[in-house]
Protein backbone atom coordinates (compact mmCIF):
# COMPACT_ATOMS: atom_id res chain seq x y z
CA UNK A 1 0.00 0.00 0.00
CA UNK A 2 2.63 2.44 1.00
CA UNK A 3 4.78 1.57 -1.92
CA UNK A 4 2.21 3.14 -4.19
CA UNK A 5 2.36 6.35 -2.24
CA UNK A 6 6.09 6.32 -2.39
CA UNK A 7 6.11 5.65 -6.07
CA UNK A 8 4.19 8.85 -6.56
CA UNK A 9 7.28 10.70 -5.47
CA UNK A 10 9.52 8.92 -7.87
CA UNK A 11 10.28 10.14 -11.32
CA UNK A 12 9.16 6.93 -12.95
CA UNK A 13 6.10 5.17 -11.60
CA UNK A 14 5.96 2.99 -14.70
CA UNK A 15 3.09 2.30 -17.00
CA UNK A 16 1.14 -0.13 -14.81
CA UNK A 17 -0.71 2.51 -12.83
CA UNK A 18 -3.86 2.64 -14.84
CA UNK A 19 -5.71 -0.28 -13.38
CA UNK A 20 -8.50 0.02 -10.86
CA UNK A 21 -6.62 -2.08 -8.37
CA UNK A 22 -3.62 0.19 -8.18
CA UNK A 23 -4.85 3.67 -8.85
CA UNK A 24 -2.40 6.53 -8.82
CA UNK A 25 -2.68 9.17 -6.14
CA UNK A 26 -3.19 12.05 -8.52
CA UNK A 27 -6.07 10.23 -10.18
CA UNK A 28 -7.59 9.37 -6.81
CA UNK A 29 -7.23 12.94 -5.65
CA UNK A 30 -8.99 14.21 -8.75
CA UNK A 31 -11.88 11.86 -8.02
CA UNK A 32 -11.92 12.91 -4.38
CA UNK A 33 -12.15 16.51 -5.54
CA UNK A 34 -15.39 15.54 -7.26
CA UNK A 35 -16.75 14.16 -4.00
CA UNK A 36 -16.15 10.49 -4.81
CA UNK A 37 -16.45 8.53 -1.55
CA UNK A 38 -14.94 5.32 -2.88
CA UNK A 39 -11.91 7.24 -4.07
CA UNK A 40 -11.51 8.86 -0.67
CA UNK A 41 -11.54 5.46 0.98
CA UNK A 42 -8.76 4.31 -1.32
CA UNK A 43 -6.87 7.52 -0.71
CA UNK A 44 -7.25 6.97 3.01
CA UNK A 45 -5.62 3.59 2.55
CA UNK A 46 -2.69 5.19 0.79
CA UNK A 47 -2.14 8.25 2.94
CA UNK A 48 -3.33 7.49 6.46
CA UNK A 49 -0.15 5.56 7.31
CA UNK A 50 2.32 8.24 6.21
CA UNK A 51 0.16 11.02 7.68
CA UNK A 52 -0.26 9.31 11.04
CA UNK A 53 3.38 8.28 11.04
CA UNK A 54 4.79 11.76 10.57
CA UNK A 55 2.35 13.36 13.00
CA UNK A 56 3.16 10.76 15.63
CA UNK A 57 6.84 11.24 14.99
CA UNK A 58 6.54 14.91 15.87
CA UNK A 59 3.93 14.77 18.62
CA UNK A 60 4.78 11.40 20.22
CA UNK A 61 1.56 11.29 22.16
CA UNK A 62 -0.74 8.68 20.52
CA UNK A 63 -4.01 10.37 21.45
CA UNK A 64 -2.91 13.79 20.21
CA UNK A 65 -1.43 12.24 17.10
CA UNK A 66 -4.66 10.53 16.29
CA UNK A 67 -6.58 13.75 16.74
CA UNK A 68 -4.25 15.70 14.46
CA UNK A 69 -4.03 12.95 11.85
CA UNK A 70 -7.83 12.90 11.68
CA UNK A 71 -7.88 16.65 11.15
CA UNK A 72 -5.29 16.35 8.41
CA UNK A 73 -7.15 13.63 6.53
CA UNK A 74 -10.35 15.60 6.78
CA UNK A 75 -8.47 18.62 5.46
CA UNK A 76 -7.31 16.53 2.51
CA UNK A 77 -10.91 15.69 1.75
CA UNK A 78 -12.00 19.30 2.11
CA UNK A 79 -9.24 20.87 0.04
CA UNK A 80 -8.69 18.18 -2.61
CA UNK A 81 -10.21 20.68 -5.02
CA UNK A 82 -7.26 22.99 -4.43
CA UNK A 83 -4.48 20.51 -5.05
CA UNK A 84 -2.16 21.98 -7.66
CA UNK A 85 -0.11 19.39 -9.55
CA UNK A 86 2.28 22.08 -10.74
CA UNK A 87 3.50 22.46 -7.19
CA UNK A 88 4.36 18.89 -6.40
CA UNK A 89 3.16 15.34 -5.92
CA UNK A 90 -0.04 14.45 -4.08
CA UNK A 91 1.94 12.72 -1.32
CA UNK A 92 4.14 15.77 -0.78
CA UNK A 93 1.05 17.96 -0.67
CA UNK A 94 -0.63 15.76 1.92
CA UNK A 95 2.47 15.32 4.04
CA UNK A 96 3.18 19.03 3.99
CA UNK A 97 -0.24 19.60 5.49
CA UNK A 98 0.35 16.84 8.03
CA UNK A 99 3.75 18.05 9.15
CA UNK A 100 2.67 21.66 9.37
CA UNK A 101 -0.36 20.76 11.47
CA UNK A 102 1.75 18.72 13.84
CA UNK A 103 4.28 21.52 14.19
CA UNK A 104 1.53 24.07 14.73
CA UNK A 105 0.26 21.95 17.57
CA UNK A 106 3.74 21.74 19.07
CA UNK A 107 4.27 25.48 18.85
CA UNK A 108 0.85 26.35 20.24
CA UNK A 109 1.55 24.08 23.17
CA UNK A 110 5.10 25.11 23.80
CA UNK A 111 3.96 27.09 26.83
CA UNK A 112 2.65 23.96 28.43
CA UNK A 113 5.21 21.61 29.85
CA UNK A 114 3.67 18.41 28.55
CA UNK A 115 5.78 17.94 25.49
CA UNK A 116 8.93 19.60 26.73
CA UNK A 117 9.39 16.87 29.26
CA UNK A 118 9.06 14.22 26.65
CA UNK A 119 11.29 15.92 24.17
CA UNK A 120 14.59 15.71 25.92
CA UNK A 121 17.35 16.58 23.49
CA UNK A 122 18.94 13.17 23.57
CA UNK A 123 19.84 12.76 19.95
CA UNK A 124 20.70 9.10 20.03
CA UNK A 125 17.22 8.38 21.31
CA UNK A 126 15.69 10.82 18.87
CA UNK A 127 12.39 10.05 17.26
CA UNK A 128 13.17 6.62 15.88
CA UNK A 129 11.35 4.57 18.44
CA UNK A 130 7.93 4.94 16.92
CA UNK A 131 8.40 3.46 13.52
CA UNK A 132 10.84 0.66 14.00
CA UNK A 133 8.72 -1.74 12.04
CA UNK A 134 8.40 0.52 9.09
CA UNK A 135 12.01 1.57 9.02
CA UNK A 136 12.64 -1.99 8.04
CA UNK A 137 10.95 -1.45 4.70
CA UNK A 138 13.07 -0.87 1.68
CA UNK A 139 12.10 2.75 1.41
CA UNK A 140 12.77 3.42 5.05
CA UNK A 141 16.16 1.85 4.64
CA UNK A 142 16.88 4.00 1.67
CA UNK A 143 16.06 7.18 3.55
CA UNK A 144 18.16 6.00 6.44
CA UNK A 145 21.07 5.19 4.18
CA UNK A 146 20.89 8.64 2.63
CA UNK A 147 20.69 10.22 6.07
CA UNK A 148 23.80 8.27 6.98
CA UNK A 149 25.54 9.88 4.04
CA UNK A 150 25.18 13.35 5.53
CA UNK A 151 27.57 15.03 7.92
CA UNK A 152 26.54 14.60 11.51
CA UNK A 153 25.54 18.23 11.84
CA UNK A 154 23.41 18.08 8.70
CA UNK A 155 21.73 14.87 9.80
CA UNK A 156 20.99 15.99 13.33
CA UNK A 157 19.74 19.38 12.18
CA UNK A 158 17.33 17.80 9.76
CA UNK A 159 16.12 15.17 12.19
CA UNK A 160 15.57 17.65 14.98
CA UNK A 161 13.78 20.08 12.69
CA UNK A 162 11.61 17.62 10.80
CA UNK A 163 11.08 14.68 13.11
CA UNK A 164 11.48 16.73 16.26
CA UNK A 165 9.36 19.65 15.11
CA UNK A 166 11.88 22.20 16.37
CA UNK A 167 12.43 25.62 14.85
CA UNK A 168 15.91 26.22 13.48
CA UNK A 169 16.85 28.57 16.36
CA UNK A 170 15.87 25.79 18.76
CA UNK A 171 17.93 23.35 16.75
CA UNK A 172 20.86 25.75 16.92
CA UNK A 173 20.55 25.91 20.67
CA UNK A 174 20.26 22.16 21.06
CA UNK A 175 23.32 21.56 18.93
CA UNK A 176 25.25 24.49 20.31
CA UNK A 177 26.01 26.04 16.94
CA UNK A 178 25.31 29.41 15.32
CA UNK A 179 21.96 30.17 13.74
CA UNK A 180 23.44 30.69 10.29
CA UNK A 181 25.23 27.38 10.51
CA UNK A 182 22.04 25.47 11.17
CA UNK A 183 20.26 27.25 8.36
CA UNK A 184 22.86 26.31 5.80
CA UNK A 185 23.35 22.77 7.15
CA UNK A 186 19.64 22.08 6.86
CA UNK A 187 19.56 23.32 3.30
CA UNK A 188 22.78 21.60 2.22
CA UNK A 189 21.71 18.40 3.90
CA UNK A 190 18.31 18.38 2.24
CA UNK A 191 19.87 19.02 -1.15
CA UNK A 192 22.14 16.06 -0.58
CA UNK A 193 19.18 13.95 0.49
CA UNK A 194 17.31 15.01 -2.61
CA UNK A 195 20.16 13.90 -4.83
CA UNK A 196 20.75 10.70 -2.90
CA UNK A 197 17.06 9.75 -3.10
CA UNK A 198 17.01 10.79 -6.76
CA UNK A 199 14.02 12.99 -6.23
CA UNK A 200 13.28 14.61 -9.55
CA UNK A 201 11.00 17.62 -9.34
Amino acid sequence: MRRTAIQQLRPDPGPAEDTDRDPDLAGLLARVARGDHAAFELLYGELSGPVYGVVRQVLRDPAQSEEIAQEVLLEIWRTATRFDPAKGSPAAWALTIAHRRAVDRVRSESASSRREEKAAPDLSEAPDDVAEAVAATLDGQRVRRCLDGLTELQRESIKLAYYGGYSYPQVARLLGVALGTVKTRIRDGLIRMRDCLEVDW
Binding site: R2, A5, I6, P11, G14, P15, E17, G35, H37, E41, Y44, S48, G49, Y52, G53, V54, P62, A69, Q70, W77, R78, T79, A80, T81, R82, D84, P85, A86, K87, G88, S89, A91, A92, L95, T96, A98, H99, R100, V103, A131, V134, D139, G140, V143, R144, I158, A161, G165, S167, V171, K183, T184, I186, R187, D188, L190, R194, L197, V199, W201
Partner: protein, 261 residues
Protein backbone atom coordinates in the same frame (compact mmCIF):
# COMPACT_ATOMS: atom_id res chain seq x y z
CA UNK B 1 14.22 41.84 11.78
CA UNK B 2 15.35 42.85 8.35
CA UNK B 3 16.55 39.86 6.40
CA UNK B 4 18.75 40.17 3.38
CA UNK B 5 18.02 38.44 0.14
CA UNK B 6 20.83 35.86 0.31
CA UNK B 7 19.78 34.95 3.79
CA UNK B 8 16.25 34.52 2.58
CA UNK B 9 17.39 32.11 -0.07
CA UNK B 10 19.21 30.03 2.51
CA UNK B 11 15.95 29.61 4.39
CA UNK B 12 14.50 27.26 1.78
CA UNK B 13 15.51 24.17 3.73
CA UNK B 14 14.14 25.39 7.03
CA UNK B 15 10.99 26.55 5.27
CA UNK B 16 10.33 23.11 3.87
CA UNK B 17 10.86 21.54 7.29
CA UNK B 18 8.45 24.02 8.92
CA UNK B 19 11.32 25.27 11.06
CA UNK B 20 10.82 29.00 10.50
CA UNK B 21 9.09 31.42 12.79
CA UNK B 22 5.81 32.79 11.51
CA UNK B 23 7.22 36.19 10.39
CA UNK B 24 10.13 34.50 8.64
CA UNK B 25 7.82 32.09 6.93
CA UNK B 26 5.71 34.93 5.64
CA UNK B 27 8.65 36.89 4.32
CA UNK B 28 10.06 33.78 2.66
CA UNK B 29 6.72 33.09 0.98
CA UNK B 30 6.65 36.64 -0.33
CA UNK B 31 10.15 36.14 -1.65
CA UNK B 32 9.06 32.89 -3.32
CA UNK B 33 6.50 34.67 -5.43
CA UNK B 34 9.15 36.35 -7.49
CA UNK B 35 12.00 33.92 -7.29
CA UNK B 36 11.36 31.05 -9.67
CA UNK B 37 14.66 29.32 -8.88
CA UNK B 38 13.66 29.31 -5.21
CA UNK B 39 10.31 27.88 -6.19
CA UNK B 40 12.03 25.05 -8.04
CA UNK B 41 14.28 24.39 -5.11
CA UNK B 42 11.40 24.38 -2.65
CA UNK B 43 9.48 21.94 -4.81
CA UNK B 44 12.36 19.47 -4.86
CA UNK B 45 13.12 19.84 -1.17
CA UNK B 46 9.47 19.42 -0.30
CA UNK B 47 9.37 16.11 -2.17
CA UNK B 48 12.49 15.16 -0.24
CA UNK B 49 10.88 16.04 3.09
CA UNK B 50 7.90 13.92 2.08
CA UNK B 51 10.27 10.98 1.76
CA UNK B 52 11.39 11.57 5.31
CA UNK B 53 7.74 11.31 6.30
CA UNK B 54 7.07 8.22 4.21
CA UNK B 55 9.96 6.48 5.90
CA UNK B 56 8.08 6.84 9.16
CA UNK B 57 4.71 5.62 7.97
CA UNK B 58 2.82 3.88 10.70
CA UNK B 59 -0.58 2.23 10.66
CA UNK B 60 -3.06 4.44 12.48
CA UNK B 61 -5.39 2.96 15.09
CA UNK B 62 -8.22 1.16 13.29
CA UNK B 63 -10.93 3.27 14.93
CA UNK B 64 -9.62 6.31 13.07
CA UNK B 65 -10.87 5.19 9.69
CA UNK B 66 -14.63 5.17 10.31
CA UNK B 67 -14.32 8.47 12.15
CA UNK B 68 -12.47 10.19 9.33
CA UNK B 69 -14.78 8.83 6.67
CA UNK B 70 -17.91 9.79 8.58
CA UNK B 71 -16.56 13.27 9.29
CA UNK B 72 -15.56 13.72 5.66
CA UNK B 73 -18.97 12.83 4.32
CA UNK B 74 -20.53 15.37 6.63
CA UNK B 75 -18.12 18.04 5.46
CA UNK B 76 -18.65 20.19 2.43
CA UNK B 77 -15.59 20.43 0.18
CA UNK B 78 -14.12 23.75 -0.84
CA UNK B 79 -15.21 24.83 -4.28
CA UNK B 80 -12.50 24.54 -6.91
CA UNK B 81 -10.71 27.78 -7.59
CA UNK B 82 -13.07 29.56 -9.93
CA UNK B 83 -13.61 33.01 -11.30
CA UNK B 84 -13.63 34.87 -8.04
CA UNK B 85 -10.84 32.90 -6.45
CA UNK B 86 -8.79 32.99 -9.59
CA UNK B 87 -8.75 36.73 -9.42
CA UNK B 88 -7.64 36.74 -5.85
CA UNK B 89 -4.79 34.36 -6.25
CA UNK B 90 -1.45 35.85 -6.93
CA UNK B 91 1.06 33.08 -7.46
CA UNK B 92 1.90 32.84 -11.13
CA UNK B 93 2.02 29.07 -11.15
CA UNK B 94 -1.45 28.66 -9.81
CA UNK B 95 -2.99 30.75 -12.53
CA UNK B 96 -2.72 28.05 -15.06
CA UNK B 97 -4.80 25.66 -13.07
CA UNK B 98 -6.84 28.10 -11.07
CA UNK B 99 -8.68 29.97 -13.75
CA UNK B 100 -8.37 33.58 -14.62
CA UNK B 101 -5.68 35.94 -13.50
CA UNK B 102 -6.54 39.41 -12.39
CA UNK B 103 -7.16 41.79 -15.23
CA UNK B 104 -8.16 38.97 -17.54
CA UNK B 105 -11.65 40.28 -17.82
CA UNK B 106 -10.51 43.64 -19.08
CA UNK B 107 -8.24 42.03 -21.63
CA UNK B 108 -11.06 39.82 -22.78
CA UNK B 109 -13.17 42.82 -23.51
CA UNK B 110 -10.40 44.34 -25.55
CA UNK B 111 -9.86 41.16 -27.49
CA UNK B 112 -13.42 40.15 -28.03
CA UNK B 113 -13.16 40.25 -31.79
CA UNK B 114 -11.93 36.72 -32.16
CA UNK B 115 -13.00 35.71 -35.68
CA UNK B 116 -10.59 38.02 -37.48
CA UNK B 117 -8.23 35.15 -37.23
CA UNK B 118 -10.27 33.04 -39.58
CA UNK B 119 -8.75 35.02 -42.42
CA UNK B 120 -5.28 34.15 -41.28
CA UNK B 121 -6.23 30.52 -41.24
CA UNK B 122 -7.71 30.57 -44.71
CA UNK B 123 -4.96 32.55 -46.36
CA UNK B 124 -2.07 30.64 -44.98
CA UNK B 125 -0.26 27.87 -46.72
CA UNK B 126 -0.54 25.24 -44.11
CA UNK B 127 2.57 23.35 -43.29
CA UNK B 128 1.72 21.05 -40.49
CA UNK B 129 4.16 19.79 -38.01
CA UNK B 130 2.83 17.97 -35.06
CA UNK B 131 5.72 19.04 -32.97
CA UNK B 132 4.71 18.32 -29.45
CA UNK B 133 1.05 17.85 -28.85
CA UNK B 134 0.38 16.14 -25.63
CA UNK B 135 -3.10 15.69 -24.34
CA UNK B 136 -3.99 13.96 -21.18
CA UNK B 137 -5.59 11.15 -23.10
CA UNK B 138 -2.37 10.52 -24.99
CA UNK B 139 -0.12 10.65 -21.98
CA UNK B 140 -1.99 7.88 -20.31
CA UNK B 141 -0.40 5.48 -22.74
CA UNK B 142 2.97 7.17 -22.77
CA UNK B 143 4.15 7.74 -19.24
CA UNK B 144 7.64 8.67 -20.39
CA UNK B 145 6.32 11.39 -22.62
CA UNK B 146 3.98 12.58 -19.94
CA UNK B 147 6.76 13.02 -17.50
CA UNK B 148 8.88 14.93 -19.95
CA UNK B 149 5.89 17.11 -20.66
CA UNK B 150 5.25 17.59 -16.97
CA UNK B 151 8.78 18.82 -16.43
CA UNK B 152 8.64 21.00 -19.53
CA UNK B 153 5.32 22.44 -18.43
CA UNK B 154 6.61 23.40 -15.04
CA UNK B 155 9.70 24.90 -16.64
CA UNK B 156 7.51 27.16 -18.72
CA UNK B 157 5.07 28.24 -16.06
CA UNK B 158 7.91 28.98 -13.69
CA UNK B 159 10.09 30.76 -16.27
CA UNK B 160 10.97 34.29 -15.20
CA UNK B 161 9.48 35.70 -18.38
CA UNK B 162 6.26 33.66 -18.24
CA UNK B 163 3.13 35.64 -19.06
CA UNK B 164 -0.41 34.45 -18.51
CA UNK B 165 -3.44 35.31 -20.55
CA UNK B 166 -6.99 34.10 -20.23
CA UNK B 167 -9.69 34.57 -22.84
CA UNK B 168 -13.26 33.52 -23.24
CA UNK B 169 -13.98 31.17 -26.13
CA UNK B 170 -16.97 31.30 -28.43
CA UNK B 171 -17.66 27.70 -27.36
CA UNK B 172 -18.10 28.92 -23.80
CA UNK B 173 -15.62 28.70 -20.96
CA UNK B 174 -12.13 30.07 -21.01
CA UNK B 175 -8.71 29.15 -22.23
CA UNK B 176 -5.58 30.07 -20.32
CA UNK B 177 -2.22 30.38 -22.03
CA UNK B 178 1.12 30.74 -20.28
CA UNK B 179 3.87 31.77 -22.66
CA UNK B 180 7.59 31.99 -22.14
CA UNK B 181 9.47 33.67 -24.96
CA UNK B 182 12.73 32.40 -23.52
CA UNK B 183 11.50 28.81 -23.68
CA UNK B 184 9.74 29.43 -27.00
CA UNK B 185 6.80 27.47 -25.75
CA UNK B 186 3.36 27.84 -24.29
CA UNK B 187 1.20 25.86 -21.94
CA UNK B 188 -2.50 25.83 -22.68
CA UNK B 189 -5.44 24.73 -20.61
CA UNK B 190 -9.12 25.10 -21.27
CA UNK B 191 -12.13 24.82 -19.08
CA UNK B 192 -15.87 25.13 -19.43
CA UNK B 193 -16.04 24.76 -23.21
CA UNK B 194 -19.15 23.01 -24.46
CA UNK B 195 -18.88 19.22 -24.75
CA UNK B 196 -18.59 17.97 -28.30
CA UNK B 197 -20.29 14.92 -29.80
CA UNK B 198 -17.95 11.97 -30.07
CA UNK B 199 -17.43 12.56 -33.79
CA UNK B 200 -15.69 15.85 -33.03
CA UNK B 201 -12.70 17.06 -31.10
CA UNK B 202 -11.03 20.31 -30.13
CA UNK B 203 -7.69 20.85 -31.81
CA UNK B 204 -4.94 23.20 -30.73
CA UNK B 205 -2.96 25.25 -33.25
CA UNK B 206 0.07 27.48 -33.24
CA UNK B 207 -0.54 30.09 -35.89
CA UNK B 208 2.44 31.95 -37.31
CA UNK B 209 3.22 33.87 -40.49
CA UNK B 210 3.62 30.57 -42.37
CA UNK B 211 0.25 29.21 -41.35
CA UNK B 212 -1.12 27.00 -38.64
CA UNK B 213 0.43 23.88 -37.27
CA UNK B 214 -1.29 21.46 -34.97
CA UNK B 215 -0.16 21.34 -31.39
CA UNK B 216 -2.34 18.36 -30.61
CA UNK B 217 -5.88 17.43 -29.76
CA UNK B 218 -7.78 18.59 -26.74
CA UNK B 219 -10.47 16.57 -25.08
CA UNK B 220 -13.92 17.11 -26.54
CA UNK B 221 -15.24 17.21 -22.99
CA UNK B 222 -14.52 20.92 -22.91
CA UNK B 223 -11.95 20.77 -20.18
CA UNK B 224 -8.41 20.06 -21.24
CA UNK B 225 -4.80 20.47 -20.56
CA UNK B 226 -2.38 21.57 -19.52
CA UNK B 227 -1.00 20.93 -22.97
CA UNK B 228 2.41 21.96 -24.15
CA UNK B 229 2.83 23.82 -27.44
CA UNK B 230 6.46 24.08 -28.54
CA UNK B 231 8.04 26.41 -31.08
CA UNK B 232 5.95 29.42 -30.10
CA UNK B 233 7.48 32.81 -30.85
CA UNK B 234 6.22 36.34 -30.29
CA UNK B 235 3.68 37.27 -32.93
CA UNK B 236 2.24 33.75 -33.07
CA UNK B 237 -1.26 33.01 -31.91
CA UNK B 238 -2.63 30.05 -30.08
CA UNK B 239 -5.94 28.92 -31.57
CA UNK B 240 -8.49 26.22 -30.90
CA UNK B 241 -10.87 24.83 -33.52
CA UNK B 242 -13.57 22.17 -33.62
CA UNK B 243 -12.48 19.35 -35.93
CA UNK B 244 -13.57 15.83 -36.83
CA UNK B 245 -12.50 13.22 -34.25
CA UNK B 246 -8.85 12.35 -34.74
CA UNK B 247 -8.00 15.86 -35.83
CA UNK B 248 -7.04 17.31 -39.16
CA UNK B 249 -3.84 18.50 -40.75
CA UNK B 250 -5.16 22.01 -41.17
CA UNK B 251 -7.98 23.95 -39.53
CA UNK B 252 -11.37 23.50 -41.21
CA UNK B 253 -13.47 25.75 -39.00
CA UNK B 254 -13.32 29.21 -37.52
CA UNK B 255 -11.38 29.09 -34.26
CA UNK B 256 -13.42 29.34 -31.09
CA UNK B 257 -10.57 31.33 -29.61
CA UNK B 258 -7.26 32.78 -30.73
CA UNK B 259 -4.88 34.16 -28.15
CA UNK B 260 -2.10 36.49 -29.34
CA UNK B 261 1.26 35.58 -27.89
Amino acid sequence: MKVMRDDLHALSGSYVLDALSEPERESFERHLQHCSSCEDEVRGLRETAARLALAKALDPPPQMRPRVLAAAYRTRQLPPPGLVDGERRQARVTWLFAGRPRGAQRREQRRARVPRLAAAFAAASLVVIVALGITQAMTRHQPGTARTAGAAISRIVTAPDARTDTMRTSAGGTVTVVVSSGQQAAVVSATGMRSLPSAQTYQLWVIGPDGARSAGLLSGAGRAGPVLAAGVVPGDRIGITVEPAGGTSSPTTTPVVAVPV
